[in-house]
Subunit: 734 residues, 2 copies
Amino acid sequence: MATSLSLSKAISARTYTTSHHPSTPLSHHNLPSSLSLSSSSSSLIKTSSFSLKTSQRVAPRASVRASAVESLDKSTSTEVALIDKSVNTIRFLAIDAVEKANSGHPGLPMGCAPMGHILYDEVMRYNPKNPYWFNRDRFVLSAGHGCMLQYALLHLAGYDSVTEEDLKSFRQWESRTPGHPENFETPGVEVTTGPLGQGIANAVGLALAEKHLAARFNKPDMEIIDHYTYAILGDGCQMEGVSQEVCSLAGHWGLGKLIAFYDDNHISIDGDTEIAFTEDVDKRFEALGWHVIWVKNGNNGYDEIRAAIKEAKAVTTTIGFGSPNKANSYSVHGSALGAKEVEATRSNLGWPFEPFHVPEDVKKHWSRHTSEGSSLEGEWNAKFAEYEKKYKDDAAELKSIITGELPSGWEKALPTYTPESPSDATRNLSQQCLNSLAQVLPGFLGGSADLASSNMTLLKMFGNFQKDTPEERNLRFGVREHGMGSICNGIALHSPGFIPYCATFFVFTDYMRASIRMAALSQAGVIFVMTHDSIGLGEDGPTHQPIEHLASFRAMPNVFMLRPADGTETAGAYKVAVQNKKTPSILALSRQKLPQLPGTSVEGVAKGGYVISDNSEGNKPDVILMGTGSELEIAAKAADDLRKDGKTVRVVSFVSWELFDAQPESYKASVLPEDVTARVSIEAGSTFGWLKYVGTKGKAIGIDRFGASAPAGKIYKELGITKEAVIEAAKSLW
Amino acid sequence: MATSLSLSKAISARTYTTSHHPSTPLSHHNLPSSLSLSSSSSSLIKTSSFSLKTSQRVAPRASVRASAVESLDKSTSTEVALIDKSVNTIRFLAIDAVEKANSGHPGLPMGCAPMGHILYDEVMRYNPKNPYWFNRDRFVLSAGHGCMLQYALLHLAGYDSVTEEDLKSFRQWESRTPGHPENFETPGVEVTTGPLGQGIANAVGLALAEKHLAARFNKPDMEIIDHYTYAILGDGCQMEGVSQEVCSLAGHWGLGKLIAFYDDNHISIDGDTEIAFTEDVDKRFEALGWHVIWVKNGNNGYDEIRAAIKEAKAVTTTIGFGSPNKANSYSVHGSALGAKEVEATRSNLGWPFEPFHVPEDVKKHWSRHTSEGSSLEGEWNAKFAEYEKKYKDDAAELKSIITGELPSGWEKALPTYTPESPSDATRNLSQQCLNSLAQVLPGFLGGSADLASSNMTLLKMFGNFQKDTPEERNLRFGVREHGMGSICNGIALHSPGFIPYCATFFVFTDYMRASIRMAALSQAGVIFVMTHDSIGLGEDGPTHQPIEHLASFRAMPNVFMLRPADGTETAGAYKVAVQNKKTPSILALSRQKLPQLPGTSVEGVAKGGYVISDNSEGNKPDVILMGTGSELEIAAKAADDLRKDGKTVRVVSFVSWELFDAQPESYKASVLPEDVTARVSIEAGSTFGWLKYVGTKGKAIGIDRFGASAPAGKIYKELGITKEAVIEAAKSLW
């Protein structure tokens, strides 16, 4: 309580400093000349205020540039007193909501309220009555636990998704104001955050999407795409490896319209960040090619914040920006202040109002955003109408990306295969699909985590998306799986017509599992192209051989785990993946060659499990053999042998459990008739879960240990993933 | 082939430069004064050679210090020609092995051979005939694909684990030379690497272990622990977020005896690293508090390499070091050179020998390591004997860490509970266990990823392990889950008696899944303390609520997934975790209070699944109810109600599936009699896999969707994780 008290005192103790802390051109004094300020340099700005410490770890400083690209002055005439009042409104909405829920994080909203006010009231362009207006500025709260900041801002700005009632039901069942920002619950929230580092990664994806579209569709006479992406990240985001990965890429790509605010508050849950985080963050960001700006007074140094944003916009590359979170205590981080402390804060800030009250003048001040937003969108719509006239084909492509409506007949572009088509690895067949789809789907783009030539993910008709060639569609993520996945989530959520894919070895989904789960939760239809999907990769050994990965994703909600067996099924898997924009798909693909199997079909894949062959002629087969991916061939060969012995055998492909489980009971029973209990499954992975299909009287052949380093064929044999094992298992069942 | 040819030419084209590229004190010209060279600064050295490029991205430079801590001169008199020959032996052993396997990565061994030679022949202290000698220097090949470098060095140094036969069976079934280094296959290999970034993280753990032990056990008159940890990492390791996490911590902790060599070869699988990796790595490492040294001629500038290591040792904090990998082409990265190219390389390097040949003079030169290593260990053993006499208690503790032999009766320290003990969250009960164990287990230490106060993982009798207090045992990892896990793997593999634990919210195992898998594969008995293990965490919502996580770890080989229901089971889970040094354990613990249940037992936990109550008096019960963790209480309450209705009910705790599945069939049948098909399971997680225990006629109650933000009780009710649901399910089955 004592520390909390010091918070409210600190808030009241702020002074209206007029000095703006004369700038030191930070970037010049210790950057190699190649990294000095230029149109392609990058920036990080942090602000610091409410500091109760006698000494600051890093001296405050700010770099100021003379040039200005855009006036931010339109609101600077707003009286400071009214801004203060608005800022305090934001603070108290957060305090009140957390208090009512008796749960939540008041610290960040209280600290970042000034920056939030300036962003949503003065800087950002959006239309509150259409949260999905295409050319809106995007805002991402990477420090998602501070979501009340965003809810308060959406409320003030006039979004229908966050009414006073919504604020009052903060963190309650089925409310639109959950404990962390969720794009699928709250229009106006762009991406789902909370797991630290995800938001800044999503923001990099959003900014990449903007840069790509602008390069592809803007014309000298018509700038149809020109929005910014703003993000707030805290110390937690900074410590996570994923943020290093994506910030390195943002610097590499020169994403100049990403403006990230670093809430450098020195407080983490375990105490002062000094206990585990003493690196020089400024210097690291300079090393990543960002331009760093400090704002000392992030609390009420509104002009200083404005100047920093102005500078950030002038530097046409990625910009970091920092703000402080003031209270030097963990106690305000993650729990309600308590009635007594709330009262003290009200008293200290001179806030006489009832909980959840928005003063009339603040309300009136913010009310203009509804009409202004409507005008912004209206103007843009008019511009787009003109664009459509002048640039018909481009407009059609862009429209498809904006609306998510796929060009009719797109699926006809998918390659087709027959049993006579040559054997091939599904990773290669996947590349044929990727290249076919990229030609017909305007929003199709992606890449690999430094394994393009192994994952077979290059789009041959396009170049590399790079700083100076952002119109291209091959993304080069480097060895950064986690960042790759989360960037793709951001791209997918930028516009409904974006269909990003990303690739690595299947086993390295372990490095990016958090981003795959976020895709599933936030309904981002990313396609995860995962090759080298079993012991079939051979000599690289157990560190590279997935075992439990199929099972682990089958257990995850809202993901399609697809393991196609040949070209036809690979095409079918891509069809499913493209069609399901709200469910990410993971394709497990082989390194090794596989034959094109008779009986496989695109339609079958859509059902998840289906019969590829059956010689029982409508009667009850003696045995059902099931397989997925590279083992479907083994099941089919075992069936051939058993049939030669006079048995009736059904072979079922189980390419996706989720799709099969979603079929009507009647269909499922038609594939797996209840009275056929002799069932054998084979899959080069964990048997975990297969009991569901083989039943208690069947047998599941799989691998419930780690793999080994040896030629693939040898491992298959030693681990018993063989035709002989299937036949033996089948024979043991009758 | 053309590019490969240029490789062999490049190798032959090297010149014996005598100039050592006069040093520029890099760290002085752009470091804030607080980070300039001092006894607590850190370093990164990179070497660059065989460069075929006309311009180098970063100018070569080297910082040289006058002070020397240790003579490295003993071998400098060795004729350069012999060193060249030894280096070429290493290169050709790698070439020949990759050629024979027709699989593998010759690039790194060829490039890093000089550094490898100097390390194993001149710098490192080890005993080839006892790879487990406690005070040995540790070597980690973080770029694990280059494992032939390490195998060649172990072979030359005289390790019995890598004979000529072993080299010839590189990457073959059951060989001791698998496709990536595996500690459990090859004595002399400290940790398992391959997945990029893991090795440097393990190395940080090894160096932490050394620093901790040295601070705890060394005496002014007796330095009993004083080894170095060397690591080689490449661009791939550098790009991975996990390496940023651990290198930030290494700088923070001041791990001065970690010497990391950065193989800055500009080549990644997708081509030149310029396509995705243009950050200023030197500057980033300086920002992390490392001292950076460049060596221009890493190829045959032996004196330069020696000087850099000398400097690295003089700087008493973390040191990075870099080496080049020479061939500017991906083609040598990951495949055999091919017979023609091998011939060209032989010819260019003047290497007339048969494959796998070690020239006699090279063999003779290296042969001294067997006797030298034996002497080193002998001297140390004598020293330790003296230490044991003078410092009996310390010696006993250290011995326990060295041997892994636990103090007898250690398990008696575990707290005990009765049904009358107060209700408590298992995370709190876990803290009681942790604190009890730390008092009796000398090698017990750990911490949390910035959630110590939520995970309840602080050891109250110890302070924080920090740069200046390394003798303490609370590790503060910051928000770096992935790095945390991999560092703990390194600690566990340092000495058999280390039992590291680490903690975060269970859902964030997604951030560290790769390190948990590496623990399982490399048999590192880390204890993963995972709290907030279900929707029971409430308002933080679906981003924080694990659903599929239990299932996903149950599918993973060699991990115990334990979900204790109360204090007794929590103590039982820790007993299992401590006893099983070769299998990591994951403890899923509740945020919310749980009652101490009648019938739970430590012995029961060891069996994974066991009956906690049954009123059938030896007869067949009407129904079996099963639960884990917080839902065992629900099952028990449902049983109470059903029994009141006159039913006979058995309640089974399924605290660990792996342990249960390992029991004899007779035991399993005694817990789940075949003829009782009315079975209901309840668990606040995915139902995936439960069919195994409830059978096709039973019912599994669980959550096969994402969670929600609301108070915990409300979510339980809305998602049907209730006593009523269990009773209804049971009734539907009879």
